[in-house]
């Protein structure tokens, strides 16, 4: 198990580096000139060139990438100019390892932007996760046990609606009515959990519902399908034959088997969501990692783009790895090689 984890970790690291290198390459292959974004009106070729130097895009791609990678391990200075460090040290920003870079478009070290953003994405992801698991699994079990009857049709129908309505629509409706027009909940504005848990939850309830509505849909169908399949398994018959009480059979014998594939899917979904829910964050103006990612792409902010790609892909790859390892614990028949 230990060696398995170690090997997987190594492949995670390699994968993340490949992804970031590809991002760098793609950025430079694009026809859009990032220096233009900082140029404004009255842009002449000399000003454009000056901007390019200020952004640090005048160096060859490989040099820039090498600097980025070394920054992750030993930290970097921005601007990386020994002369400036001597004459005007107040103008130099020192970014300690692991240094994700400096955004010349937002004029901040990326580590600062990320440390501001990730608690928001984390809060959104966790709340939504709990909500959708409860809704999805609860709904799925109820539907499976009432297969063919009206509760089943109602739940599956709602799930279909939840899945079909785009998150931006649900989000906007929730923002417009309960928040802005009726004032039932405050207009979402992030309050850190440790500052005020009640306010934290009240501000996040709308994004949680928006995401849960969408994700719960697939979990309802998944749970329902697995539940129906599991309840027809032989070992359920055995449990009944032993005289085990009805709900114990459903939950301890039935649900336990269903949880294995469900938890796997949930782990992957959660991993992806931790990297930021782009649409939801935009709709509710919550500036998490998703918002940061979109913002950096819109303004061609390469350092931030690369950092975001790295973070998101790491989260997904690590989530994959954790789920694989967890599987060895959840299902005793599986031997994690």
């Amino acid at each position: 198990m230990f060696y398995f984890a170690l090997r997987r970790l190594a492949s995670v690291v390699i994968m993340v580096f490949l992804i970031t290198a590809t991002t760098f390459a793609l950025f430079y292959a694009s026809p859009i000139d990032p220096a233009r974004y900082t140029c404004g009106k009255n842009c002449t070729p000399t000003i454009l060139e000056g901007n390019r130097i200020a952004l640090g895009y005048d160096q060859p791609v490989t040099v820039q990438y090498a600097r980025f990678v070394s920054g992750l391990f030993v930290g970097r200075d921005f601007p990386d100019n020994a002369e400036l460090r001597a004459t005007h040290p107040e103008q130099v920003v020192h970014c300690g390892a692991p240094c994700l870079g400096y955004s010349t478009t937002q004029h901040r070290p990326i580590n600062d932007m990320v440390s501001d953003a990730w608690p928001i994405s984390l809060s959104i992801a966790i709340g939504a996760f709990i909500l959708w698991m409860l809704m999805g699994i609860g709904g799925g079990i109820t539907a499976a046990l009432n297969k063919g009857r009206w509760p089943d049709r109602l739940i599956v129908g709602s799930a279909l609606v939840g899945f079909s309505l785009p998150t931006f629509f649900v989000g906007l409706v929730l923002l417009t009515f309960p928040a802005i027009k009726w004032g039932w909940v405050p207009i979402p504005n992030y309050v850190p959990f440790f500052q005020n848990p009640a306010a934290w939850a009240a501000n996040l309830i709308l994004p949680w519902i928006t995401l849960a509505f969408f994700f719960a849909a697939s979990y309802v169908r998944l749970t329902r399908a697995y539940m129906i399949e599991t309840m027809s398994e032989d070992y359920i018959r055995t449990a009944n034959a032993k005289g085990v009480a009805k709900w114990t059979v459903i939950l301890r014998h039935g649900l336990r088997s269903v949880l294995t594939p469900i938890v796997t899917a949930a782990g992957l979904d959660l991993g992806g969501l931790l990297g930021g829910a782009i649409i939801t964050e935009s709709v509710f103006s919550l500036h998490g990692l998703g918002y940061l990612a979109v913002h950096s792409v819109t303004f061609m902010d390469l350092p931030t783009i690369v950092a975001m790609v790295m973070i998101v892909s790491s989260l997904i790859v690590v989530a994959n790895m954790l789920v694989d390892i967890a599987y060895g614990f959840i299902d005793p028949r599986v031997k994690v090689a």
């Binding site: 026809p31 404004g40 009255n42 070729p45 200020a54 103008q91 004029h107 901040r108």
Partner: protein
């Protein structure tokens, strides 16, 4: 209490009228809706500023976006001169002294400007604002590799030689290369600052209303790190950090002396700037007017989606002309458009009503036939050649007399989006009816201007859509930027003169206009605009964008200053509480 304030206000206005240099001009009357909020102003309270566009820079030398210039200037970055607040939306604003004692003394040849800085203006740490501070601030613009994003008028106006590649010989106060050249162009003698111009510049005292000509404390300069490290010499200072995409809070600068400041009333005790929103959300909240939003004003204009609902903010919204004009450029390098009659025919057949209809109506855009926008005193108000709809029949006759074979194939470029797709299909009908055969080329936004400015495309398009807004209310920020071939056209491309218009007579007239001031200058620029449109047919102005702004019900004194940037003028805003 109230009485005294009103009297004081009247006195101040009279004083302004007496001291301001003549700057009469046209008005840009608002179209519908009312604003400003009634009743006398109350001091104190917290004002909320909602923004859907995160500020890229607060560093005065790097601020180029109108709304940041306006709010920056009114809160923490005083300039030598500025435009005074107005009493009604869209009224013409007077050029007034701000940090200086007057609006400047210019030599007879127009090449030297002198300003004396008032006594008693202090930074937030109590130190006095000196001539050196202004000199240092302006010099930062020259450090083009660090201080990016801001206007470069300092480089353009000041008498400092240029290198072969067009860059300035002075590389800014960090590298100090050419520092002696700068020190000759800008000199301090006690509190008097003297500027030497590269050529006669009658409107320099208007250019310096931009915060790029504001003071900056050398000991506070951290280069790129200073971007949001606001250090104030105005009525408000930043309290706590500024967080991009979130905002910050401004509190009173106790060291600001209202006696030195005739511009800013500084009524609110606190200003909370919230830029975490989208424009849509921001306007939904302003219209809904709940809770703290009653004490809020918009910094950005309303997005088109909000216009449908803005009637719900009765008495709290306003529609004004924006600084932006959209126009067509005719390409003198294309075979067809080098034909004078062809250009005139295109202009005659332009159906502006189609533009207005496709863009969503009068509240959003208004037809115009001048590049200069109506808020400027030099607005020539050139009448439309053939009415709103154009005259395809007349145009066709002209085209037939031009010697070209009908239908005349032309390739028209525009910046692709849903609105302009509709606009151009309407414009195309008008032009086709005149005997043109229009092929439309919609180019994606990020590549649009880059494509037009690439020398490889010099003959590709016969006409193109473009947009421009004056940087400050002098037409010298419009006409030369768009039509002076000497400063624009080079081996690297046409610059902003997308149509490669190059006319020596026109250029000579530009030089003459530069040297004039006041009403004479206005007349000269206005004539240049009219000539470009009706004599040379180098440009076909289409519409002026309109801006819609809204504020909460407790807000008073929110008036749009269309002369100075075209946003709410913070100087007179107060909150009822």
């Amino acid at each position: 209490m109230k009485k005294i304030k009103i009297v004081a206000g009247v006195a101040a206005t009279l004083a302004l009228a007496l001291t301001a240099s003549a700057c009469s001009g046209g008005t840009a009357a608002p179209t519908t809706g009312t604003s400003a909020g009634g009743g006398a102003a109350t001091a104190g309270g917290t004002l909320y500023v909602l923004s859907g566009t995160p500020a890229e820079h607060w560093d005065p030398q790097r601020t180029y976006v109108g709304l940041n210039i306006e709010f920056g200037n009114r809160m923490f970055s005083r300039t030598l001169t500025t435009f005074a607040p107005v009493a009604k939306d869209g009224e013409s604003a007077q050029l007034t002294a701000d940090a200086a004692t007057d609006t400047g003394q210019v030599s007879s040849d127009g090449k030297t400007w002198k300003f004396t800085i008032k006594d008693g203006i202090k930074w937030e740490d109590g130190k006095a604002v000196t001539c050196e501070d202004f000199k240092y601030g302006i010099s930062r613009t020259f450090a083009v590799d660090v201080i990016t994003g801001g206007p470069n008028y300092a480089i353009q106006y000041l008498d400092i030689p240029k290198n072969k590649d067009g860059s300035s010989a002075y590389a800014g106060p960090y590298k100090k290369t050419g520092q002696d050249l700068y020190d000759k162009a800008v000199t301090c003698d006690g509190n008097t600052i003297t500027f030497k111009m590269a050529k006669p510049s009658g409107d320099f005292n208007q250019a310096i209303t931009m915060t790029a000509f504001g003071a900056f404390r050398q000991d506070k300069d951290q280069g790129d790190k200073s971007n949001f490290a606001i250090f104030s010499d105005g009525p408000y200072k930043l309290d706590g950090p500024w967080t991009t995409s979130k905002g910050g809070t401004f509190v009173r600068n106790e060291n600001w002396d209202p006696k030195t400041d005739t511009i800013r009333k500084a009524y609110p005790d606190k200003i909370v700037w919230d830029e975490s929103l989208t424009q849509e959300t921001m306007y939904e909240r302003l219209i809904a007017d709940q809770g703290d939003d009653k004490n809020a004003i918009a910094s950005d204009q309303a997005p088109v989606t909000a216009l449908a609902n803005v009637a719900g903010a009765d008495g709290r919204y306003t529609v004004v002309a924006s600084p932006y004009t959209r126009y067509m450029v005719t390409n003198f390098k294309s075979k067809v458009m080098s034909n004078d009659k062809a250009r005139e025919a295109l202009a005659l057949a332009t159906d502006r009503s189609a533009y207005v209809a496709a863009a969503g109506g009068d509240q959003i855009v208004k037809a115009t036939n001048s590049l200069i926008n109506p808020a400027l005193s030099s607005f020539p108000n050139t009448p439309l050649l053939a009415g709103d709809k154009g005259d395809p029949a007349k145009a066709k006759a002209l085209l037939q007399a031009s010697g070209l074979t009908l239908p005349v194939k032309i390739n028209v470029a525009y910046r692709k989006n849903d609105t302009l797709d509709k606009v151009f299909s309407g414009l195309k009908s008008g032009w086709d009816a005149a005997g043109f055969d229009v092929q439309l080329s919609g180019i994606p936004a990020e590549q649009y201007y880059g494509t037009l400015q690439s020398p490889a495309n010099a003959t590709k398009y016969d006409a193109a859509w473009a947009g421009w807004g004056a940087d400050f209310p002098s037409a010298s920020t419009v006409i030369p930027q768009l039509l002076d071939s000497r400063s624009q056209i080079s081996a690297g491309g046409p610059g902003q003169d997308y149509g490669y218009f190059a006319n020596d007579t026109f250029n000579a007239e530009i030089d003459k206009a530069y040297a004039l001031t006041g009403a004479e200058a206005d007349k000269a620029w206005g004539q240049l605009d009219a000539d470009a449109v009706t004599k040379y047919f180098a440009v076909i102005p289409l519409i002026n964008d309109q801006f819609v702004f809204a504020h909460g019900s407790n807000v008073q004194g929110a008036i749009v200053n269309t002369t100075f940037t075209g946003y709410y003028d913070l100087a007179t805003v107060s909150v009822k509480h």
